[in-house]
């Protein structure tokens, strides 16, 4: 089975069955839980600090002791709405509900969540490739504690005993339910990247997938290309990294296609990704799923944020990744989907790039340097005017690409002007006749090598190309442009044949 990585017919990606040649489409909807970056928990004043000494950040409320009552943390509402608005959702009057099921890590044996009336509904998230992924809802709920199993096998079945740490119980979460608009494993990874950028931009969460503050479940189904009905989906859990997410979706899609092509049907169920084995395994079946007996949480009152509050959030909204890419594309003249544009925003270097372009820097070259020669962290002190000056030197041919890279690295350290650094390093524009002189001299010095270079096989020629280039660079103290050297050597070779 081949997985086609390029979109075919617009936004569609397909899986081509190796056995039948049939084309299948992957359909993915992601459910993301993220911990909100509040100081205190959702319904009490305990620190929102998982990872401390177990059961130290707890109180009667988050332990669900008899008689305790929840009080909603206003900061949670603020962050949830900020995220919702960043995802283009409409903020609605919402109510909390209880999701009832027994589990030892859940102090009350019900989870307070939002069910039929979530706070954020009907938004979207635009991916860098131009795909718009719908957001069904982004609602508030409480996290559970964490079980650990000790002795015996160390797993839940066969352990001698289990321990529960309730520090995480009552930590605020937002669950972001995306619509099934994703068509490819890579697109799913991009969606998470983009969502993470929004979570960070809005300050809603630190969004660390490996540490569990951002958790992704993938609803995966397949259908024949051209079908409009959704196939039966499986919910894949235990995805602890972007790599796992991509692999799991691909595995699951192949599994489902294989089943369908052999005439079997897909059972709607929860499946767990096993990273080591590279496969998903069946969990509990949704068809015999627990009945959560949702009903409105009577200990809390409906949440009705004022129009003023929502307006204040909108007014204070920082520019979001999609808008930032758009602005950079306009300024640089590049397409919004070009990697330089996407990466500049990802690395938070778009403001630097915009200022550099405004100072006269060539858009494409500025973004090339941002993509290849600058990191997000070390580039904060770079002055746009001098950066533009450097790009100008490159564009004017005064500095080679290699020299520019060296000068740029030095600028980051010392902050001095590029022409000063270039002069100090002895970088000067080398005109072509000067380079020809050097090259011809070196050819004359090494006639045997030159002969081998001209007539040898590819391997030999490649080796000797390195030999001559090294000598030329040494002779010119690195001022020669690598590309120009290669062109010159090739033309001399052709001439000598």
């Amino acid at each position: 089975m081949t997985l086609t990585h390029e979109p075919i017919e617009g936004e569609h990606f397909v899986v081509v069955s190796e056995s039948t040649g049939d084309e299948w489409e992957i359909v993915v909807g992601l459910e993301v839980h993220c911990e909100l970056a509040t100081v205190t928990k959702l319904f009490c004043g305990c620190p929102n600090m998982f990872g401390d000494e177990p059961n130290t950040n707890v109180c009667p409320v988050c332990l669900g002791l008899p008689g305790s009552l929840p009080v909603l943390n206003e900061n949670v509402v603020e962050l949830a709405m900020r995220l919702g608005r960043a995802l283009q959702c409409s903020v609605e009057p919402s109510v909390f509900a209880r999701k009832n099921y027994f589990y030892p890590d859940m102090p009350k044996d019900y989870q307070v969540t939002q069910f039929d009336r979530p706070i954020n509904v009907d938004g979207w998230l635009d991916l860098p490739d131009g795909t718009r992924v719908g957001i069904e809802r982004a609602h508030i709920e409480e996290d559970t504690g964490k079980n650990s199993h000790a002795g015996g096998s160390g797993r839940i079945h066969g352990a001698d005993y289990s321990l529960v740490d309730y520090n995480r119980a009552g930590v605020p979460l937002v669950e972001i339910v995306g619509r099934p608009h994703i068509r490819h494993p890579e697109q799913a990874k991009t969606y998470i990247d983009e969502l993470r950028a929004i979570l960070l931009t809005t300050g809603a969460s630190d969004a660390k997938m490996e540490e569990g503050s951002l958790r992704v479940d993938a609803n995966v189904s397949v259908r024949r290309v051209g079908d409009t009905e959704l196939g039966t989906r499986c919910e894949v859990k235990n995805l602890n990294s972007l790599r796992s997410l991509g692999r799991a979706i691909e595995y699951e899609a192949r599994r489902q296609v294989d089943l369908l092509e052999t005439g079997e049907r897909i059972k709607q169920e929860t499946r767990h990704w096993d990273e080591g084995a590279g496969r998903t395994r069946a969990g509990r079946s949704k068809e015999e799923a627990e009945d959560y007996r949702y009903f409105q949480e009577p200990d809390l009152v409906p949440l009705v944020p004022s129009a003023e509050w929502i307006a204040a959030i909108d007014a204070a909204m920082p520019p979001l990744p999609a808008a930032r890419r758009e602005a950079l594309a306009v300024a640089s003249g590049l397409a919004v989907t070009e990697s330089g544009v996407v990466i500049a925003v990802q690395r938070d270097l778009d403001q630097l790039a915009l200022a550099t372009i405004a100072a006269g820097g060539d858009g494409r070259r500025v973004l090339t340097h941002v993509e290849h020669n600058l990191s997000g962290e070390g580039s904060a002190g770079l002055d746009p005017a001098t950066f533009a000056q450097l790009v100008g030197l490159e564009l004017g041919g005064q500095l080679t690409a290699t020299q520019v890279k060296t000068v740029l690295a030095e600028m980051l350290v010392s902050g001095r002007a590029p022409d000063v650094i270039a002069a100090e390093l002895g970088f000067e524009a080398m005109d072509s006749s000067e380079l020809e002189g050097v090259v011809d001299g070196l050819i004359a010095e090494s006639p045997e090598e030159w002969s081998d270079f001209c007539t040898g096989d590819d391997k030999k020629r490649a080796k000797l190309q390195g030999f001559f280039t090294g000598k030329i660079m040494k002779a010119t103290k690195g001022q020669a442009d690598g590309k120009a050297v290669a062109v010159l050597l090739e033309s001399r070779r052709v001439e000598s044949l």
Binding site: P60, L63, G64, L65, P66, G67, S68, L69, P70, V71, L72, R98, N100, F102, P104, P107, K108, D109, Y110, S162, V164, D291, R293, Y294, F295, P298, D299, L300, V301
Partner: protein
């Protein structure tokens, strides 16, 4: 010991003035408990040491010229579903065996801060589910007026404690009548305040949208004083009303002249004992004599209150009681797996009535049944609120019996849960509406047992309700007066 006054207001005044010590008051009440609670079983726990320490502190304050507060030195009994720091709080259930709350309920903090002396935790139907206190895991409480009869429930222990003179005042909780009905059956005053007027923080939940804490006392004024003490906004209860605590005492004497008071026709007919109905009519006559205008009013949806209540309350209870799973506190019955341990613990820890309601509630909320049961019950609840709104457009207060009957004999209704549930028919509608209501003793029934008259008011209408209660109190016939 005859020098000890019988009401909280008189005791507090005497203690504040120094004419009586909190210690003397406490010793007197502890002696009464000693003498008779073996028979009554009002208390699950008498807090002798804590009470003595609290009384000593009050006496020290008085000696230092300080005012210990409006309830200075007044013994007070707490229903055993109110959390008390470090003191066992059982809900009269085995499942909470050994659990000591690490905090005080807001009402406990407030009564303690007002100088009251908490003397013990009173018996109740397990988790407040019942109307006779026969569902307690620690044995039933007996009605002090006739120990062959029930005290009512679920706050039977708190009602009996006041009726027996173990404490002049006590606190109970009322989810469907659990303060008013035992108050009526024991012949004391009992008040269910407006939902949200008194913080529920630290009240172990039965049905969160219905539960409300309220006072018992022998006099209307004492209930007014205790309610003033415990009422008022609490940031720890999201359903707490953010309004100033009502001033009840100062308007107690204002009478009912010009007030419009309505008989609820649906709650005066079938199912109400004729002697009880007769006392309610007599009470209405007394209010009319004091200048009130009496009329009839229909609250049609009230007839469906019982059915709606027995879906909503068990539904919430099924969720509220899920946490008693043997994992964190209370009883644990070990078993090979967690799920089996949960089941074994709950099987051993809960009594029959609690299990019955958990099953009822679980069923009512289940997929496929929600709309037909829980969903429909919520609609009835909305209709009841609407019907009451209509009634209160024409009337300031409503009047009904508190309980359809006087106190019944032990075992009379335990075999038939439905007949037990019917006890709450007059009290439940106000819980569903969130309105205040209270029971005032008004003479006796044919059996010589007390009859309670229920006064109902719109939300936050406590002050008006207490004015009418004071009029009824002064017009009430003696318990042994022949009824006609």
């Amino acid at each position: 010991m005859s020098a000890i006054p019988s009401t909280a207001i008189e005791i507090a005044a005497a203690v504040r003035s120094g004419s009586l010590s909190a210690r003397e008051v406490l010793d007197d009440h502890l002696a009464r408990i000693d003498a008779r609670d073996g028979e009554i079983n009002a208390f699950n726990l008498v807090m002798v040491d804590e009470a003595r320490a609290a009384a000593a502190a009050v006496d020290a304050q008085v000696a230092a010229g300080e005012n210990p507060g409006p309830l200075a030195g007044v013994p007070l009994a707490l229903k055993d579903n109110l959390c008390t720091h470090g003191i066992p709080t059982t809900c009269s259930s085995r499942i909470l065996e050994g659990w000591r709350p690490p905090y005080d309920a807001t009402v406990v903090q407030r009564v303690n801060a007002s100088g009251a002396i908490s003397i013990g935790k009173t018996n109740l139907d397990e988790f407040a589910m019942g109307s006779s206190t026969e569902n307690s895991a620690f044995g039933p409480t007996r009605n002090p007026r006739d120990t062959s009869r029930v005290p009512g429930g679920s706050s039977g222990g708190s009602a009996a404690a006041v009726a027996a003179g173990f404490a002049p005042i006590s606190l109970g909780s009322d989810t469907g009548g659990s303060i008013r009905q035992p108050a009526a059956l024991c012949g004391v005053v009992g008040v269910k305040p407006t939902y949200g007027l008194v913080s529920r923080y630290g009240l172990i939940a039965f049905a969160s949208s219905l539960d409300q804490i309220g006072p018992f006392s022998t006099t209307v004024a004492d209930s007014a004083l205790l309610l003033e003490t415990i009422a008022g906004y609490d940031g720890r209860d999201s359903t707490s009303i953010n309004a100033p605590s009502p001033s009840l005492i100062e308007s107690l004497g204002e009478g009912v002249d010009g007030l419009r008071i309505g008989f609820v026709t649906e709650l005066m007919g079938e199912g109400i004992d004729p002697d009880v109905a007769a006392r309610v009519r007599q009470a209405a006559d007394a209010l009319a004599a004091a200048g009130a205008q009496i009329g009839e009013v229909s609250v049609p949806a009230a007839a469906y209150g019982l059915s709606a209540y027995y879906l909503i309350a068990p539904a919430e209870a099924s969720s509220n009681l899920a946490r008693y799973d043997g994992v964190r506190y209370g009883m644990r019955v070990d078993a090979p797996t967690t799920a089996e341990m949960n089941a074994a613990t709950r099987t051993a820890g809960f009594g029959d009535e609690v299990k019955r309601r958990i099953m009822l509630g679980t069923y009512a909320l289940s997929a496929g049944f929600y709309d037909a049961y829980y969903g429909k019950a919520l609609k009835v609840r909305t209709l009841i609120v609407r019907d009451f709104e209509r009634a209160y457009a024409d009337f300031d207060l409503l009047i009904t019996p508190t309980s359809p009957t006087t106190a019944f004999k032990f075992g009379d209704k335990t075999a038939d849960p439905l007949s037990m549930y019917l006890n709450d028919i007059c009290t439940i509608p106000t819980n569903l509406a969130g309105h205040p209501a209270m029971s005032v003793p008004f003479g006796g029934g044919a059996d010589g047992m007390p009859v309670g008259v229920q006064l109902l008011a719109p939300a936050l209408g406590e002050a008006t309700m207490f004015r009418a209660a004071a009029v009824l109190e002064s017009a009430a016939p003696a318990l042994d007066e022949v009824w006609s």
